[in-house]
């Protein structure tokens, strides 16, 4: 980066080149999702088919998760968080149903 470049902090999900993970070896785990992950994925697909959400909205919801939680949550846990927030935001379900 040139010295005069303004400092910008990339969003949490915008991970390309992130220094935080520079020296982190890649976890060779190549297993497919567990049952929880597959179930979240199936629900996501169905809600998209039924025009209740788009993949873009899913991503927006994931990107809204605060940084430390983003990295602490599992991949499909982030999806679930986003799907639940979207269903509340759109009034498809009511907050008390998730409590």
């Amino acid at each position: 980066m040139p010295d005069d470049a303004p400092a910008h902090t990339p969003a949490t999900h915008d991970l390309g080149g992130a220094s935080r993970f520079r020296c982190t070896p890649i976890d060779p785990d190549d297993s497919p999702p567990d049952d929880f992950g597959k179930r979240v994925d199936a629900v996501r697909q169905l809600l998209a088919q039924k025009k209740l959400m788009t993949v873009d909205e899913l991503r927006r919801g994931i990107e809204a998760i605060p940084a430390e939680e983003y990295h602490a949550l599992g991949y499909y846990e982030r999806w679930l968080r986003s799907i639940a927030s979207l269903m509340l935001e759109k009034g498809v379900i009511a907050p008390e149903e998730l409590r």
Binding site: L15, R20, R22, D29, L47
Partner: protein, 194 residues
């Protein structure tokens, strides 16, 4: 290793499914059916496409110009799926696919993405230190070969067409497909003759 979901996440999922079911939005049967359909997609499809491209010049041309049509020609349902693009490796260029923003992956032809593809380390490092990433898979390319990292940032999904290795002359498509691994289709590894 991918950690198991927290109990509160499992609970949230069940409450969400119950709420959606109660409103008649979805059913357990639909979830099971959707999951079964998704489970059927696998890297064997991508491997068959590559093996066919290695033996059939017309199919190779189709694969490179219109990956979606090439997938459909192999019986894959691409309706509703993002368009598929295919990246041709050459003696001087090797492709590596990543999604730095989320985890876009050509699921229609490769199935579920593996855990590592979705990891922060892979997403962070692939665009900055591709040679270091490849080395973790035991893949070493000479400095004279360009590594072209493809960051799947928008509407396409990308698959690599690796080079056919020497020593496979006269092999059937089926045998060729057997050496095309999921890792080779993402670009972290090369097809190898056992």
């Amino acid at each position: 290793m991918a950690a198991p979901p927290r109990p509160e996440s499992v609970e949230l999922l069940e409450k969400l499914v119950a709420a959606l079911s109660a409103r008649g939005i979805l059913t357990e049967e639909e979830i099971a059916e959707r999951q079964a359909i998704t489970d059927r997609a696998s890297p064997e499809t991508g491997a068959r496409m590559v093996a066919k491209a290695w033996t059939d010049p017309a199919y190779r041309a189709l694969l490179l110009s219109d990956g979606t049509a090439a997938a459909e020609a192999m019986g894959v349902t691409m309706a509703g799926a993002p368009p598929l693009g295919v990246l041709e490796d050459t003696p001087t260029r090797h492709h590596l696919v990543v999604c730095t923003l989320c985890s876009c992956y050509p699921r229609a032809v490769l199935g579920y993405p593996p855990h590592w593809y979705k990891s922060a380390a892979y997403r962070a490092r692939a665009v900055r230190d591709p040679r270091g990433v490849l080395a973790e898979w035991g893949t070493h390319l000479p400095d004279s070969v360009e590594i072209r990292v493809v960051d799947s940032t928008a509407d396409y999904r990308w698959m690599v067409l690796p080079m056919r290795p020497a020593g496979t002359e006269g092999w059937s498509e089926e045998r060729l497909a057997s050496i095309v691994t999921r890792d080779a289709l993402v670009g972290v590894a090369l097809p190898r003759v056992p």
